[in-house]
Amino acid sequence: MFSPNRRQMLQGLGAGLSLLTMPSFLVACAKQGAPVASAQAPLGQNPFAQWFGVDEALIREVLTELGARGATAADLFLQHTRSNSISMEDGIVSSASSSIDQGAGLRVVIGDQTGFAFTEDLSRESLLAAARTAAGIATGSAVVPPQALNVSPEGKLYAIAVPWADVGITQKLPRLEYVEAKARSLDPNIEKVSIAWSDSEERVLIATLGGLIATDYRPMTRLWVNVTANKNGVRQSNASNVAGRHDFAWYTDERLDTVAKEAVDRTMRLFDARRPPAGELPVILAAGASGILLHEAVGHGLEADFNRKKVSIYADMIGKSVAPDFVTIVDSAEEPFERGALNVDDEGNVGRRTTLIQNGVLQSYIHDSISAKHYGVEPTGSGRRESFRFPPMPRMRCTFMEPGPHSKDEMIASVKKGIIAETFTNGQVQIGAGDFTFYIKNGWLVEDGKITAPIKDCNIIGNGPDALKRVTMAAADARLDTGGWTCGKNGQSVPVSQGLPTVLVSSLTVGGEDA
């Protein structure tokens, strides 16, 4: 069913048949791309081109078709994703799945207009037919690709030692069993433990009408631990997860122990947790996962598509002071192995580190190539898409706040009645009104400068620009969240990361009871 819901949301809790072997793939990718001039030249040996069964002649033919009716820009996005998931319940694997998703997205841009088509069939005929469909938006005269296509060098932000295709299920199962047993061992009240494992590897090749060819190999993995505990007939459940663009070796005993312990602690704490009081309260955001504040209150509003359309509350605020001077907020593609890390974005632009707010002053939006052109700035490498089935849009990558000058103790001591937000499940924002929310699963009540009780299940609502002005303290303990987040915008989901030091916001509306 077509979903007309175009809202932005962030989800935390939820839920190839290569002829090439990986070593040769890595060796070939280590080569610096050089300009090539014919179908016999290096692109022919490029492992990505071989993977997709395309050569320079075909790429040029498709690009020529995309530009046949005129274009400001056009691109061919080839993608192959191979993913595996395993779920374990009651100590045995209840389901194991693998999938292969392969296809091409073809796009023609005229100013801020986009024609788009995709196909799962990578034959010449299908690619050309889709290119003609995408070009249907244009009515001008032909633009042809340059004679030489330039292959960009490979990025190294998430180069892994062993590709996921080389890790069999028999290697993974003992890791699931280990973490399952660990979680069970941590508390006698644990009734159920379920584990969800996923790993994937994605290959993309992006060719633009401007003559750029960029390639990327993108691994991803995530492990969930869900726990249900039964204490005197009352049940509580909760979860934890770890995620990133890592390989199998990343799942050390220590990492699995940590995620199991987090899941159990978060569950057991619910038995004593209450609802916070209802109304406007100071909120201390714990370091790490609380980066959800930035994602919702600031990040989406700074995505340049909303601003060039003038529908964002931040549309007229570049250069203005929007937060205290100790607040610096960054959206970066360059955090190694993070879910939001990107060597190149899905338009072939190099992923960069973008300072959004510098010492309280709004510096930059988050751009795709359409908006960068609109504003006359360099692309920020933030043009992302869920898959070849969608055109790219400006999206966040890894959004975080730099350390501040205060301390967590200082913040707690300053609060007469308020809460600490510690773990989260999801958030959402209205771009134009600026209202944002995030849902606290676990937190603490603070009374008279002291932590007095655990709290649970509380939605927070605030207004982006208001909340930024109310950031009254930020600590030195900045860190990124270890759990995996997925951002949804206009029906497209992409992996993101976030982080924050401990931060005090002087007032937000807390969803509570019995005020």
Binding site: T228, A433, P465, A515
Partner: protein, 438 residues
Amino acid sequence: MRDELLKAAQEAVEISKAAGAQDAWAWASRSRSVEYSYRDGNLETVQESTSRGLSVQLYVDGRYSTQSTTDLRPDRLKSFIAEAVAMTRALEVDPFRKIPDPALFAGRAADTLDLVDATVSTINHDRRLEIVKALDAAAHGHQKVISATSGVNHSHDVSAGASSNGFSGSHESTSFWFGAEVTVQDAGDKRPEGYHWVGGRHVGGLPDVSAVGKEALDRTVKRMGSAKGPTQKATMIVENQAAGRILGMLMSTANARAIQQGRSFYQGKVGSELFSKKLSVTDNPLLPRGLASRLYDGEGIAAKAMPVIEAGVVKNLYVDTYYGRKTSMTPTTGGASNRVVTPGQGDLAALMKAINNGVLVTEWLGGNADGTTGDFSLGVAGFEVKNGQLGAPIGEMNITGNLVTLFKGLTALGGDVYPYGGILTPSLVFEGVQFSGA
């Protein structure tokens, strides 16, 4: 197309058996979709695609896995399934996993669902343009409009399934949607947004295009001047458009899987009066033109109407084969179809008049619920209801409570069923709801 896909599914079952699976199930699908969006007098995006895919479920030596691919070249498919069978052998034996009982396939209803409108495929560029232009014109009918994006989307989906134990079936549907989202300039930097979309299986029977654009505009303009309301306990009306989300939340753990995993407040409650006597919900997969209608579910189980909640009493749960075996419950169906709430009487104006004072919630913003306990907290926006009339717009508020308690306090339902979704519900009235605001 249906025959072609059925053949592809049957072939995939044969390939799976030849590769060593004792049992197998395959689904093949094809979907054609066209979408235009139009912003402030210009066509903004044109998307047009035909998508296809194949998924296979394998039962190998007491083990089970599921596979899907979009690479349908015959040699690739064969090696893909062969690798998948080998991978499945590496799993442990799962005594609860069995292919669905073929007895459940029997009794499939005659296809009177009317899910295909042949005129959908005749909608051309000019017609799409005409629709988005009319939406755009209507959505700009106010001086405070900053931007309006209108859209039209239509699709044609076909799927077919086959199993090694005798299931075969195919499903075809069309859909047609259009609507607009509008942003207006409010005081200061605030630019409230609103939207309205309508759609269905058929082109006919939908409201006038301009009226939909105007409704999107009106819903947005009404939000202007929104302020935070007070922290209070109040009577809450949830508008029909918004009511689907909270009903979806209420029913999200009414299934055997959640119960088996100890994550459902429905555990041990079948036959109990858990909610207000006013609440009755039937899962009806056989609704003509329904957005979630079907003749069989994902396990091939022949579709039939199933009361889930009747006068507040939990009557049936969603039970699939696997969790049915784990919980010793009889399979009903693993997933929801059209969820039909038995309506009451009166429109929104009548409900407001009846409650006199309270809060009308027209949209949600974020929030969540714990399916194990039913505890929820949700962001809301809407309007005050004063002396039986629509009052000032309010927002940046939360409601917090427990879903079971909330639905015990369901005091009335309107007669205004919202038709554009898989949850068919009227506006709902709840007593004693905790609002957090100023």
